[in-house]
C-alpha cells in the first residue's frame, strides 16, 4: 500500500488543481486598470455629436461606463437588466458605443430601450484600447475621484449586479 501512497498523493493534488482550473474562466483577464484613474478621453455624444463628453464631466459621481455595440449579440442579453437599472435610478449609466455605426446604434437603442444617461461614440476603438476592452460588453465602475474600482467582463448577470456591482456602488456612494 505504501508504495502507492506518493503517486496517489501526487495524483490527488493534480486532480485538485485541474478541478479548480475547470471552474475558472480564462476569458476573464484581470484588468490592470483597477485602482487607477480612468483613462482620459473626449468623444462625441451619440445623440448630440456636436457636444463632446469627457470622463471628467462625471467627477464627483459614482458611475458605470458600459461598453456596448449594436453588432454585439451578448449586449442584448444584458440590456433588459440595464434598462431596469436605469429605471431604479441608483447609479448613472454612460454608454461607450464601441466601433459601431451611429445610425445603427441609435436604431438599436430605439428598439431595445435606452438606459444610458448618454452614449459616446468610439468609432475607431481607440478609447476602447485605452480601457483595455477586448470583449464587448464590458462595464467599468468609476468612483467620485474618477478611479476605476471594478470591471465586469461580458454581459452583466442579475447575480453579478446584486452581489458585486450594486453593493460596491452603495459603498462608494457613501464614502
Amino acid at each position: 500500500m505504501s508504495r502507492f501512497a506518493i503517486p496517489l498523493a501526487v495524483f490527488v493534488v493534480i486532480l485538485a488543481f485541474l478541478f479548480v482550473g475547470l471552474g475558472l474562466n480564462p476569458r476573464e483577464v484581470p484588468s490592470p486598470l483597477i485602482g487607477k484613474p480612468a483613462p482620459a478621453f473626449q468623444l462625441a455624444q451619440l445623440h448630440t455629436p456636436d457636444r463632446p463628453f469627457t470622463e471628467k464631466d462625471m467627477l464627483g459621481q459614482v458611475w458605470l461606463l458600459n461598453v456596448w455595440a449594436s453588432w454585439c449579440i451578448s449586449c442584448r442579453d444584458e440590456h433588459p437588466l440595464l434598462v431596469e437599472l436605469a429605471k431604479a435610478n441608483t447609479v448613472p449609466l454612460v454608454g461607450l458605443n464601441y466601433k459601431d455605426k451611429p445610425g445603427e446604434a441609435k436604431a438599436w437603442l430605439k428598439q431595445f430601450g435606452d438606459p444610458y444617461q448618454l452614449s459616446i461614440t468610439d468609432l475607431n476603438g481607440r478609447v476602447g484600447i485605452d480601457y483595455g476592452v477586448y470583449g464587448v460588453p464590458e462595464t467599468f465602475l468609476i468612483d467620485r475621484a474618477g478611479v476605476i474600482r471594478y470591471k465586469h467582463i461580458g454581459p452583466i448577470t442579475p447575480d453579478a449586479l446584486q452581489t458585486k456591482i450594486l453593493p460596491l456602488v452603495k459603498a462608494l456612494q457613501k464614502s
Binding site: 484588468s31 486598470l33 477586448y134 470583449g135
Partner: protein, 154 residues
Amino acid sequence: MTRFLLVLVLALAPLLAFAKDAVPTEQDPVAAKRAVGLAEQLRCLVCQNQSIAESNAELAVDLRRQINEQIAAGKSDGEIVDFMVQRYGEFVLYRPPFKATTVLLWLGPALLLLAGLWTLRRALRQRQRAIEDRPLSDDERARAGRLLGGEPPQ
C-alpha cells in the same frame, strides 16, 4: 518549356498573396520587421492562443495598427510593450516577466525535472538493494546448476 514556366509561375503565385498579408502597411522594411516582431510577442485577448500577429480578430487588427503608429511616432519597443501591458495586463505577454508571482511558472519545469531525477535515483537504488539482498536458496542454486549443465555453484 513554356508550359513548365507557366506551371512554375502559377505555383509561385500564391506567395504574392502571402507576402501582401504578412507585410504591414509601413513601407520601411526595418520598421515592418519590428512591428511583426512586437506583434508576435503579444497575445490576442479575443482568441487567446494566438498572437496579435497571427489573429484576424478586429482587436488584433486595431492593435497592429497601434504598433505601426507608435513605431512611426518613434517609440521604442519597450515603450510599446509597456503601452499594451498598462491596458491589458501582463497576460498579453507571451514571455511573462520573472517575478514573485511567476516564479513557479518559470522554475516549475526545472523543479519537476529534479523531482523526476530524484525519484528515478531512489527507485534504481531500491532495486539494486533488492537484488543484492536476496541470495539464492539451496533449491535455486541446484536448479541453476542443472540448467548450466555442471556442478551446482557454491
